[in-house]
């Protein structure tokens, strides 16, 4: 972004990478896949790179409002400094925070989740899917992220993206408004669960496996981690893969 601003250019959209997208070994692949798609279709975009900080979502959900606002206000200063108008992110937590919670602190942007962005690209015919890729005809189930689904009523965009791959979309028993959390929201990602009889991600993975799907599609870094761990826990990692939507589209595009 700093480079672009130096040249006096302003991007169409800012890609908010997020901490998981920047640092998580597995989710970096999602960031790379999404960037390849953006490059391929020629979208004018920028990333903040080292100028990006955590949105503050986990701090806020854990109760630390000070820390959240420190992060948020700093991020807003950076984004407003670059006169950012539109933001796309592959993380529903970042999406929710920037879209719903930054306006109260002076950050007003049009914010969309990458599933919505991909849906638009597909609808506009900008992404030409081969449809004959490795997913063709396979059973795929989509795990709703709480902050995308119930949190912001985005249920159809990710499903439309999956359907565009010419696959069989199978729903879990608890889906859409009734979708079961992967167990990582509300800052749970950053601590061990409270004592109980089962881990939430295992419960959810069992439900996903029960659909007979060979791929569990997700649209959130935390869900990706939790579902991947769940599949490992069930020793199904050879048969069942967990992918982010952007990875699936990039694979189909052969990039």
């Amino acid at each position: 972004m700093a480079e672009m601003a130096g040249k006096g250019e302003s991007p169409e959209v800012l890609f908010w990478v997020g901490c998981a997208g920047s640092f998580d070994e597995r989710y970096k692949a999602v960031t790379q896949a999404f960037v390849k798609i953006l490059n391929k279709v020629g979208t004018s975009f920028a990333v903040l790179g080292p100028e990006e900080a955590c949105t503050g979502d986990p701090a806020r959900r854990a109760g630390n409002e000070f820390l959240f606002q420190m992060q948020a206000v700093a991020n807003i200063q950076v984004m407003n400094g670059y006169n950012i108008k539109k933001v796309v992110t592959a993380c529903p937590h970042c999406f929710n925070t920037i879209k719903n919670e930054y306006p109260a602190l002076g950050g007003n942007y049009e914010v969309i989740h990458h599933s919505q962005f991909l849906q638009q690209l597909i609808n506009d015919g900008k992404v030409a899917l081969k449809g004959g890729g490795e997913f063709k005809g396979k059973k795929i189930t989509f795990h709703d992220s709480c902050y995308l689904g119930r949190g912001n009523d985005v249920y159809e965009a990710p499903r439309d993206v999956i359907k565009a791959l010419d696959v069989e979309l199978v729903e879990m028993k608890r889906c859409k408004t009734k979708g079961l959390c992967c167990g990582a929201g509300g800052a749970q990602m950053f601590k061990e669960p409270e004592p109980g009889k089962k881990d939430i991600n295992v419960e959810r993975t069992e439900e996903a496996l029960a659909t007979g799907a060979s791929t569990i599609a997700v649209g959130c870094p935390f869900c990706l981690t939790m579902m991947t761990d769940g599949v490992k826990n069930k020793e199904k990692e050879a048969e069942v893969k967990v992918y982010d939507l952007a990875e699936m589209i990039a694979k189909d595009m052969g990039i």
């Binding site: 920047s22 109760g63 709480c146 052969g254």
Partner: protein
């Protein structure tokens, strides 16, 4: 004709009215122990939400069988209350079936419809009792339901069954008396459901039947008045509060957390950003987050009084489903119990909120709060739009900011965020490293 029954009726009616007003004042005061909050934007959308969710029972129908049965009890409640109006007027004026002469055939149709509803309410309540006590539907047997809450639920169902039986018994006796041409009894016509009871009563003497009919009449009306008062002590308040509760629903995206302007001012000052806040700091520095009910919004407390403990929230809570202590229903029950405790203490001239107890600790533990994934399943599940999550998150704010009592792993996450601007310990300078791989790769056309 003796005026004694009318006098007794008026005394009972006034006494019931007096107690009801007193109870309503008590409940109102308890709800207003919560902090002031203005939430009356988008009135059109609020009325629409109330019509759909409360009046139209929209969210109940996510689970069809209980929704179908509940629908009859609900319609029965709304419609049979029209008959209660006649009861009250008859009681005051010493008349009998006041509306019958004016409505003619419509009265017969109405009475048959009321009887149909009474039977459906009765059947539904019996099925509900079976679901609670024989089938033991899991959400009714959770730990927070032990004791009074289970008893409360069963009592309500039994009272409704008995009240409905009284209507049918009264109509049966009434019509036999009318057919015998006794006194002021009016032939309404064929009443199908109470007609089925005629064989039981037909052999009885006229004197005894009058006794049966009067006893059922008094039992029904006094029963309804007593029930109205009972409701104010029970979980059954949802029959009234569902309406304001849905009107005051949160209309924002569920994922959004309310901003804390007090914190914004401090953060802006620390970062040297000019603030719009007045130069004078507020005289009273409020608490951050919620420790007790007076730190919550009055809407949170109204939510608690609107809860009828159906447990749909708890049955969809990922933490509860996997054996954690958290139960969103218990959160709501705790808020109400604490509000009741404080209210009673205040009325008795006691210490109220200053009794050394608080919602956090004495009712809700940190273990419960920490188990929440903020997934909004409970909020989505509630048929009357109660928001347990808002309470949980406010209480977490208190634990984090006033007590520094968050779990160690969260403290580590806070520290990472302060020093490396990410919840994990990575160097901020490495944020862009992922791009190396993309740059190296040629994109095929």
């Amino acid at each position: 004709m003796s005026f004694l029954p009318q006098l007794i009726f008026l005394i009972i009616l006034s006494a019931a009215g007096f107690f009801l007003v007193k109870r309503v004042k008590f409940l109102r005061r308890n709800i207003l122990l919560g902090k002031d909050e203005i939430r009356n934007d988008q009135p059109d959308k609020r009325w629409k939400t109330m019509l759909l969710v409360a009046f139209g029972q929209q969210k109940m129908f996510k689970r069809f069988i209980p929704a179908f049965l509940h629908f009859f009890v609900y319609i029965g409640f709304l419609v049979i209350n029209l008959e209660v109006l006649e009861f009250v007027l008859d009681g005051i004026f010493g008349t009998h079936r006041l509306f019958a002469p004016y409505l003619g055939g419509a009265y017969l149709a109405a009475m048959n419809f009321f009887e149909f509803l009474a039977v459906m309410v009765l059947v539904s309540c019996v099925i509900f009792l079976i679901r609670r006590n024989v089938v033991k539907v899991p959400r009714f047997t959770k730990p927070e339901m032990k004791g009074w809450p289970a008893m409360d639920g069963n009592l309500i169902l039994c009272i409704e069954i008995v009240l409905m039986m009284a209507i049918l018994k009264m109509n049966a006796a009434d019509q036999i008396l009318a057919s015998r041409g006794v006194g002021h009894y009016i032939v309404v016509g064929d009443l199908f459901f109470s007609g089925l009871l005629h064989p039981i009563f037909e052999s009885m003497s006229t004197g005894f039947l009058i006794f049966v009919e009067r006893a059922a009449w008094w039992f029904h009306i006094v029963g309804i008045l007593a029930f109205a008062i009972y409701v104010t002590y029970s979980k059954h308040l949802h029959i009234f509060l569902a309406f304001p509760n849905t009107w005051y629903s949160n209309l924002k995206p569920k994922g959004e957390m309310e901003n804390m302007p007090a914190v914004t001012n401090e953060v802006n000052m620390m970062l040297g950003i000019p603030t719009e806040a007045p130069a004078d700091p507020p005289a009273e520095i409020g608490r951050f987050g919620a420790k007790d009910i007076n730190d919550l919004s009055w809407i949170n407390v109204m939510n608690a009084y609107s809860c009828t403990e159906c447990g749909r929230c708890t049955s969809e809570c990922p933490a509860n489903l996997t054996g954690k202590k958290l139960s969103p229903r218990k959160i709501m029950m705790d808020v109400r119990d604490r509000a009741e405790e404080v209210g009673k203490s205040l009325d008795a001239g006691g210490k109220g909120l200053e009794d050394g107890k608080s919602l956090l600790g004495d009712y809700i533990t940190k273990e419960e709060l920490n188990a929440c994934t903020s997934c909004n399943a409970c909020v989505e599940a509630c048929p009357v739009n109660i928001d347990p999550l808002a309470i949980i998150l406010e209480m977490r704010r208190y634990v984090a900011m006033e007590e520094s009592g968050t779990p160690a792993q969260w403290n580590a996450m806070f520290q990472n965020m302060e020093t490396s601007f990410a919840p994990w310990k990575f160097s901020p300078q490495d944020r862009f490293n992922w791009a190396e791989k993309v740059k190296d790769e040629e994109i095929p056309d």
